[in-house]
Symmetry: C2
Subunit: 271 residues, 2 copies
Amino acid sequence: MEKIKRNERISAMLKILSDAPNKIYTLSYFSEMFGSAKSTISEDIDIAQGILERFALGRLDTVTGAAGGVKYLPAGREELDIRFQNELCMRLSDPDRILPGGYLYMVDVLSHPAIVTRMGEMMAMWFYDKKPDFVITVETKGIPVALMVARSLNVPLMIARRDVRITDGSVVTINYVSGSGQRIQTMSLPKRSVKEGQRALIIDDFMKGGGTARGLIDMMREFSVNVVGIGVVMATREPEHKMVESFRAITVLHGVDEAARRIDVRPAGLA
Amino acid sequence: MEKIKRNERISAMLKILSDAPNKIYTLSYFSEMFGSAKSTISEDIDIAQGILERFALGRLDTVTGAAGGVKYLPAGREELDIRFQNELCMRLSDPDRILPGGYLYMVDVLSHPAIVTRMGEMMAMWFYDKKPDFVITVETKGIPVALMVARSLNVPLMIARRDVRITDGSVVTINYVSGSGQRIQTMSLPKRSVKEGQRALIIDDFMKGGGTARGLIDMMREFSVNVVGIGVVMATREPEHKMVESFRAITVLHGVDEAARRIDVRPAGLA
């Protein structure tokens, strides 16, 4: 085989690492793939790290120990995150989004691959230190963004369903009060999907009263699972006191004026 | 600014291109980013192309004309696809997946980010030449894989829902006969989500009789949209004649023997 050049090694390595965020690849893996010494691979990693930093494309983390190696994280992009939040708010402020009752049409944004990818990377980095074992959401609209969070953290996604299907096998079902509607709803999760003692990250598209997130927390308690964080795409400013203690949002909805056809949505943290 | 080296340019370029499959970046974009001549960028692209090919990581397509540039596709990985299909079948053959009535538990596979990413890349390349404008699925289990197909094609995802939500705005609702259950079901899609004359790609997790796909075709007709392809993760061998004329599957379920606890699932195309 023709000798593999440094630029080939670094490019291929970065592609492989960034295709699977938070997944650890051993130095031996690359060393065998490229037929290079581990010391050479180490140097390559340093250069790759510099490239990612220079262009704000993420970062590489070296993990020491027996299961050690190197992994990619879509981190260190705070400036881009703020720009993204602003663009998102602009997009969500379009008065054509106003639906009867002051609701917002967001379906297009919530299932646009490029947008949910960015949302997913951003939210994943908020909760990365909490080391969640899985991401959980309730069907349907939050599934795409929850999947992209799970992808960035390299953990499975669990989807709680509002109705039970035969293909779910045995399920745990709970009742909860939907914050916005004050209605009693049910959600179910396959029994075999989650293990006792795991750490859950809740992701959803929208939070008003926080009833759905509360329901997911209660569901996780049934499984003896700890909730380590809650992230939503949009939270309403009112009510200030939600049914959950803490959460993080990408955007905050300050108000929808149906008559004046005005939507006031702002980046969270800058509001 | 310190001069940017070739290995830095190629690595950053590949990262940016492969993060957004099928999205065209102009040569000027990279030329400005790196402060290099377009001829230099062209050479970089050739080298990057060679790297992707050498390690079966995809390919770059150069697009000529006014809107021209370069784009990444997760293509040219047929050998890996076959290996992936085999591994998937092994995984799906685990007798613990057998549910009462001969159903299969597949929820874990269908929402595992790494698995649906591979499925999505593979299916996207099957239908790439058909130039779909969007991907459509019915909630819930097929959403993750449909999103990853949409991501690889750089098109939006549309999700038809079984119940109507206020946040969908005006919807078109149709009735259809679910192939497996012979039950009449309904599905709805926001009116504003799709435009007349567009080209739709249907993606779903499972096909038995083909009733759901048939329903989606009927739904698309309501929108005067052409269906250019149907892809599913698993199709059953029986009934041989489905309610749709043609489709492509990753795996084929030949049978589930509840008593003997045996699942016969094979890679499609190799069965």
